[in-house]
Amino acid sequence: MKKLSIVLLILMVMMAAFANGAKEQATPSKSISLWTYPIGGWGDDAKVKALTDAFTAETGIKVEVQYLTYADGDDKVNTAIAAKQAPDLIMEGPERLVANWGAKGYLVDMADLLDAGDRAELNQATLKACLTADGKLYEYPLVMTAHCMAINLDAFKAAGADKYVNLTTRTWTTDDFIKAVDALYKYYKAPVGAVFCGGQGGDQGTRVLVNSLYGGTFTDAAHTKYTWDSPENVKALKQLYEMPGIVYDPAIAGGDEINLFRNGTFKMAFCWNIAQQPLNDQKTDAGEQIVFMSFPAQNGVAQLNGGIWGFGIFDNGDAEKIEWAKQFVKFMCDGPKTADAVKTANYFAVRDVAGGQDISKIWADDATMNEYNVLMQYLGDYYQVTTGWATARTCWWNMLQAVGAGNDIAASVAKFAADANAAAAAGK
């Protein structure tokens, strides 16, 4: 009797399994997976669902979304690649999609999605960053912005340092920056800003700060070599090290710096962009006015580091899914929902016309975005696609730690830049 029960039970389980399989075969569903980093509202499930639902309604293709964080997103994607479980779609910037996963042969070339009209409509610098030297498109761009810095205007006024910033053009010179920090330090008797170097989070801020002070660069124009060992950069690192109002802090990264700026500890933040600006009504926790600024430069005009975000498609060997993924990319980046997709990201569109619609004025009714537009003219070279980027990035903050620890600046810079260039030469 017991044996009979066991046999019956097994049969029932098998029948249920087969029935389920048959059901799945009877109603095939189209579905693709999207993994996205928290790019503005693209990290918010409610906002993203509205967009993917619209795509599903239009095409019948379901989109399963997984949200990544910058803390461990790369690890998850790399593990998925190694296990051959990569998603169909991924949303991030060229430094990951073009210079890393694309260059390593894991992404689909989407150049066939670009016709002559698209090539003309897209922002040229953005398109250049998304294309490889041999013309492969590993990222279809959706949005862009310029990374900048922010100041606590009320604190500046209290210390009499507001006279050093031009609030119309949002620019200041290197000399004015030094004087402002000095005035703030004398007033508050504590460091007012930090060269954070606890990790790679927000490191674009420290890169632009160092590069812009005396006109240094991070890479050469051809993106083949790291040039941060130049005398201009060494001079900037030395200048920052010698300023009592600025600390090299290896215990914090970009996110920590923003928190310390918001809670009033620091009076300026080097890790900032438009996504941060509207939060808390553009005020610190204590209600002081936050103002975004360009980075200081000798002539006042810094070359800001850009942020570009868009979609890449993993080549998982399924031609049908690749085709569906391409439909998704076109729908979001050059289709009826592009304006919503851009607004969800809370950045600027990389084109004025999408899907035949004018999207150049989607932020017309947003005062903050309009104001922020003043910085877009300072957008500099998008060098994050240089070979060896992953190594170079870690070399950068390790170098800052070495400088902050009091090591010889020129020697530290030379050593870490050499390591980064070795990685670039090896194509790693």
């Binding site: 790369d74 690890d75 790399n78 690649i81 190694a82 260059a103 390593k104 042969g105 894991y106 170097c197 606890g198 990790g199 802090d249 290896p250 215990a251 914090i252 310390l260 809670n263 500890t265 992953a390 190594t391 870690t394 903050w397 390790n398 730690q401 070495a402 902050g404 620890a405 090591n407 990685a423 790693k428």
Partner: protein, 302 residues
């Protein structure tokens, strides 16, 4: 002498028992092979390759090149030194502190003993991320409670960047490691001390032994298996210190808190050098195995 013949029934029963024993073992065995033995074999295999997660350039066999490179890599050497410092400091401290606490509480009333066990075990069952976040706040250079208290007591004059200073960062990590490591040893020692044969102690006392002699000559040998277990487990945990480093310092400042375990992760997942990372993993495993073997040998000798 007449040989006892086993009946066919006995043989069949024995075979059935053997088969069912293996069947019971099977699920665990599958997991053990799949998640321990196979990864170990793959780790060893990959360590002989230049494996870099690049679909366009296949993994290249390079023999022992990864192993040779390790000993020329200053970051690995620094990580190995730091790891050994963590092990050398934390293992004796955890063992001695746990034994001291357990000795002090194991004779207490049941409710008090339970309360103390709960208190000391709490950091073990609390998520490591939560523990780390609290410690990060305490160590904070700008508003951390540690600076506030130490300045109030006059121990320091200005704020100390505990995690940002190369001379203090590693010790800060060790302190956190100690608080999260003592819970289990205390519970184990309380149990072991409670099981010590009291008649031997009473006999010793009749013969005039001192408290120290009671401990050293009677209790210590009886709790030796527990001590061995604690020492081995703490050694392995200390060698594998990773979460604290990743969440607090990323190996910085200036590699002051770099450990082999974190460097393996960094090399594999940030620099995509899987072969090199695996070679480090093999070396770490050898270190742990060698040290554990020494500990077993010493304990056996005693």
């Amino acid at each position: 002498m007449a040989q006892i013949r086993k009946s066919p029934l006995t043989r069949r029963l024995r075979r059935q028992e053997t088969v069912s024993s293996y069947l019971f073992l099977l699920p665990s065995l599958v997991f053990f092979l799949g998640f321990v033995i196979l990864p170990m074999a793959l780790c060893l295999f990959t360590s002989f390759f230049d494996s870099n997660l690049n679909a366009t350039t296949p993994d290249r066999f390079i023999g022992l090149q990864n192993y040779a490179e390790l000993w020329k890599d200053p970051v690995f050497i620094k990580g190995l030194k730091n790891t050994l410092i963590i092990v050398v400091v934390s293992v004796p401290v955890v063992t001695a502190f746990s034994l001291w606490i357990a000795s002090a509480i194991y004779k207490m009333k049941e409710w008090m003993l339970s309360a103390f066990r709960c208190i000391f075990y709490l950091p073990v069952v609390t998520g490591s991320v939560a523990v780390t976040v609290v410690w990060k706040w305490m160590y904070n250079n700008y508003y951390g409670v540690l600076n506030y208290v130490f300045k109030g007591l006059g121990i320091i004059e200005t704020n100390v960047n505990w995690l940002g200073n190369p001379s203090t960062a590693l010790w800060c990590i060790i302190v956190i490691l100690l608080t999260t490591s003592v819970g289990q040893p205390i519970v184990l020692y309380v149990s072991a001390l409670s099981n010590v044969d009291t008649s031997l102690i009473e006999a010793g006392e009749v013969d005039g032994t001192t408290k120290f002699q009671n401990f050293w000559k009677i209790k210590w040998p009886q709790i030796m298996p527990t001590t061995l277990y604690i020492v081995v487990i703490t050694t392995i945990n200390s060698f594998q210190c990773f979460a604290l480093i990743q969440l607090l310092t990323s190996g910085g400042p200036n590699n002051a808190t770099q450990t082999v375990m974190y460097y393996i992760y960094y090399t594999a997942f940030k620099l995509y050098r899987f072969g090199y990372g695996n070679a480090m993993g093999i070396i770490l495993a050898l270190f742990i195995a060698a040290l554990s073997a020494v500990q077993f040998y010493v304990a056996k000798e005693r």
